[in-house]
Symmetry: C2
Subunit: 349 residues, 2 copies
């Protein structure tokens, strides 16, 4: 399956996402595979059997979100200069979201921009980070606060790489599938309710559906001026949860799962979602072994944390609220009282 | 005078360059003026009398090319996070090319991109860095090797800021004017031969002409796939000179002046330029008190340095060669022997 990503009035920045067994990739230019020891241990041999280039380098970065920093990117840049990479050289991001975000960001910076290709090896990266061109790194103020919008030249999604993925990471990817289903596509939500995602063909179909929905949104609104914000469903809360727990307790998709539960409760409070719909979403999250509960120790502190999020322009918090299943509302006008009332229900146990 | 910069198929990235006395600037959002103590000492009071914003911050960076690094940019980013700047906040680059390049780069990175405005205070920045959207920093491998293509929202050029500019820096700006005249516009070259650039109206006219020529080139070729490379006339050699002299002996425009003399001699060698034309160009450079000579100690080492330049894709060096005065040739096929023969004439004194 090949899904074309056509960015508005940017013909030369369009690219294809291919969901299939990885085919041979031949290059005429310098190529560096950016990966980490974990992914390399499982899959580098497979990748190397597919890729040919006159000068092929492997650049290892440490495994983990805590290394998604400007310093790691600087290290990678320095290695590319050591290898005398030029403007026609190509980077391949081979790993999960951290590798993808850092490789894309590095490619955007190297000599003001060289090409990169994504070969995501986690479900989360396959359905989420592979589409949209958001690249960047974290800093002490929060996640993804430094970065660039920069599109890959191509994305190759091969679900076979997922066989070595730990179950928690697989579930974290499913969380992002549920996210787009709830906000955009009721039929896809029903499909997921009944799907056995460990069946390869079913999984391919589900990945394709998620990628298509996200691509459609990004094509309309690359820079997140409008509809793209809907992809942050679960993230407004999720980012605070990740921040409060030091980015170690929960995987990103797990924090988003809890964030969706919080957003849902706010939707119910506002009459946008029925309790039955709220339960349906919680049920599928539970079924996928995603966390759906969180103890908020200090509601005021939790609320304050929203304002560190880069999406909170001018001290307004943008909430993405499901409107039934398959639709959503984006609102920056939810009163502090209502939000705190909902947050308190997560502390009162 | 207002010169519109309209970037191809990027309507929302078009902007105006205004050449006039600085008018009042009022903002509804957070604004940070990025400047250095030297510029601030001379002109900050003037700027502050013109700018109003609900939250106006001054961010000082150290003065000098040696501080044009990723670390300085990281420091500025951190300050903006401390000030809780959001996606609608605006940066003002107030200074020379270093300030402009770093401010634009910082703006491109902050939360994946916020707006910035350029108010260049050196002649070089007014005629060169103000147009084109090249932003970035240096590293140990060379100049501007890390960066982004990122356009300002507006550029305000006020020649009154130049009164405090040291004569050497003024001349360095004139070098870039001569550069575009030689490669693109014979009439402008004649104008410069007879111009008194210390007359404000003449200077405005000359700045306007330079900016228009460069804007026309950049509008055709933002990412330097073709014609934009012609703006590197004098730079291929100049970058090596800057690198060999540790970026301290020559100002950028001075190194470019010597670089133009070198490129001219190569042009004469190849029959593209007459000795008389070569002399005319040297004469105007001398008249403007720009350096036109350089002692190459080791021709082989000088030649090797070309390949560190980021423009040297696939080990080919791209030379910009004047073809008479007012036209040019871009060639990547000049033999090593011919280049070294010309380089040797700079060592044999």
């Amino acid at each position: 399956m090949t899904i074309p990503i056509v960015l508005e009035s940017h013909e030369n920045r369009s690219y294809n996402i291919t969901i299939d067994s990885l085919s041979k990739l031949s290059f005429d230019n310098n190529v560096a595979i950016i990966t980490n020891p974990t992914v390399a241990g499982h899959h580098l041999e497979t990748l190397l059997s597919k890729v040919t280039a006159p000068n092929l380098q492997i650049v290892m970065v440490p495994d983990g979100e805590e290394y998604k920093t400007l310093h790691t990117v600087e290290d990678v840049l320095n290695q590319l200069f050591e290898y005398k990479f030029d403007r026609k050289s190509i980077l391949i991001a081979f790993g999960g979201g951290v590798i993808g975000d850092m490789t894309g960001f590095t490619a955007s910076l190297y000599q003001r921009g060289i090409d990169f290709i994504q070969i995501p090896t986690t479900l989360l990266a396959q359905v989420d980070a592979s589409v949209g061109g958001k690249t960047g790194v974290n800093n002490k103020f929060g996640k993804n606060l430094i970065g660039a919008f920069y599109q890959p030249k191509a994305v190759y999604i091969d679900p076979a790489f997922l066989v070595t993925l730990p179950p928690r990471e697989f579930a974290a990817g499913v969380a992002e599938m549920i996210k787009v289903a709830v906000t955009f596509d009721k039929e896809y939500f029903s499909f997921l309710q009944n799907a056995d995602l460990h069946d390869l063909e079913t999984l391919k179909k589900a990945i394709g559906k998620s990628v298509t929905i996200k691509a459609n949104v990004v094509n309309q609104d690359e820079k997140e001026m409008g509809i793209r914000a809907a992809l942050n469903y679960g993230h407004t809360f999720g980012h605070v949860i990740e921040n409060e727990t030091g980015y170690t307790k929960y995987l990103h998709g797990e924090a988003v799962a809890i964030g969706m539960v919080m957003a849902n409760r706010l939707s119910v409070e506002l009459g946008l979602l029925t309790s039955d719909e709220e339960l349906q979403i919680k049920t599928i999250l539970d079924k996928m072994n995603l966390p759906t509960d969180y103890y908020i120790n200090d509601v005021d502190a939790f609320y304050e944390h929203f304002f560190l999020d880069k999406k909170s322009a001018k001290n307004k918090i943008k909430f993405i609220l499901p409107k039934g299943i398959g639709d959503h509302v984006i609102s920056s006008d939810i009163s502090e009282d209502v939000v705190k009332k909902v947050l308190k229900t997560f502390g009162a146990r």
